[in-house]
């Protein structure tokens, strides 16, 4: 069953800090990767960019579960999403919006010509956890 994303997570998705994604193959081998974009689709779905046909993409077609950590470094908070792959879109408003965002991210990170959106992979949100950590002043 899908859960609702809290409103306060939306700015974190747009903060430009890369997220981290973990998937697992059908054979049981985990795979971890940095992702540049987590796109808010609606209250119960996010989309992740499919840019290269890589292990992450193969894994979620075999085993739909994924774990994504969003980093709110100025807010001393992590958001951990448990996701399930739902479907892939290669056109339409979600794809177009992500395509535009990915161009901006590529330009800002010196990756122009390397990042290219092939599809917007839409995931159902199964769980959301907010993890605050100490500011530990003076370290």
């Amino acid at each position: 069953m899908a859960v609702r994303l809290p409103e306060e997570i939306r700015p974190v998705m747009d903060n430009g800090i890369p997220a981290v994604m973990v998937t697992c193959s059908a054979a049981g081998v985990p795979n971890t990767t940095v992702i540049s974009q987590v796109y808010y689709v609606d209250e119960t779905h996010v989309a992740l960019s499919f840019q290269f046909f890589n292990k992450t993409i193969r894994n979620v077609r075999e085993n739909p579960r994924a774990n994504v950590t969003l980093q709110d470094i100025p807010g001393f908070t992590l958001w951990i999403l448990d996701l399930e792959f739902d479907h892939s879109e290669t056109e339409g408003p979600v794809f177009d919006a992500m395509d535009m965002q990915i161009e901006a991210i590529a330009s800002a990170t010196g990756m122009s010509g390397i990042f290219k959106l092939r599809a917007a992979d839409v995931y159902r949100v199964l769980a959301v956890e907010q993890q605050r950590y100490e500011q530990t002043p003076g370290r």
């Binding site: 049981g28 971890t32 950590t69």
Partner: protein, 158 residues
């Protein structure tokens, strides 16, 4: 043995994240505070903060599968290490020193772009480790963004 090129990279990398999976093939992510090469040159010791423990040890003791991505920011040079859990222990003084050095290395890179105001949040983000997980590296993959991403570096592809 982990190739020399990668051993040298371990001294340049400044940010990392780990992944495990449980008995139901559900993946879990874990923050990483530091890393160092094991004495035998075949294992990596990954240092994790207290907040990274959820699902970690039960997954490792269930199936042993462990994956770690290390990146050098801002160059984006990135590799993923996959392998099998060997053992874990509480961190020692040397581990803490390693994590402190890595935190300052990451901080110096971030400050170049975001200024001194980033120092406090970045120091807090790089939490002090509490647990050291040693794993035997079976495979290393290139993850630097671009067309070469996904290629296996170790063992070399035929």
């Amino acid at each position: 043995m982990i190739p020399g090129k990668i051993v040298r990279f371990l001294d340049r990398a400044n940010v990392s994240h780990a992944g495990t999976r449980d008995r139901n093939l559900v993946p879990h992510g874990h923050r990483v505070s530091g890393w160092r090469l094991g004495a035998d040159g075949r294992t990596l010791i990954v240092l994790l903060p207290e907040g990274a423990r959820a699902h970690l040890l039960e997954s490792l003791e269930d199936n042993g599968q462990f994956a770690v991505t290390l990146e050098e920011y801002p160059a984006h040079e990135t590799y993923q290490f996959k392998g099998r859990y060997v053992r874990h222990r509480p961190v020692d003084g040397e581990d803490i020193e390693v994590a402190d050095r890595l935190r300052e290395r990451f901080l110096n890179s971030v400050i170049q772009f975001f200024g001194e105001s980033a120092a406090s949040p970045v120091r807090a983000f790089s939490q002090r480790p509490s647990l050291a997980v040693e794993f035997l590296v079976d495979e290393i993959y290139v993850q630097t963004p671009g067309p070469g991403a996904g290629a296996r570096l170790f063992p070399a592809e035929a």
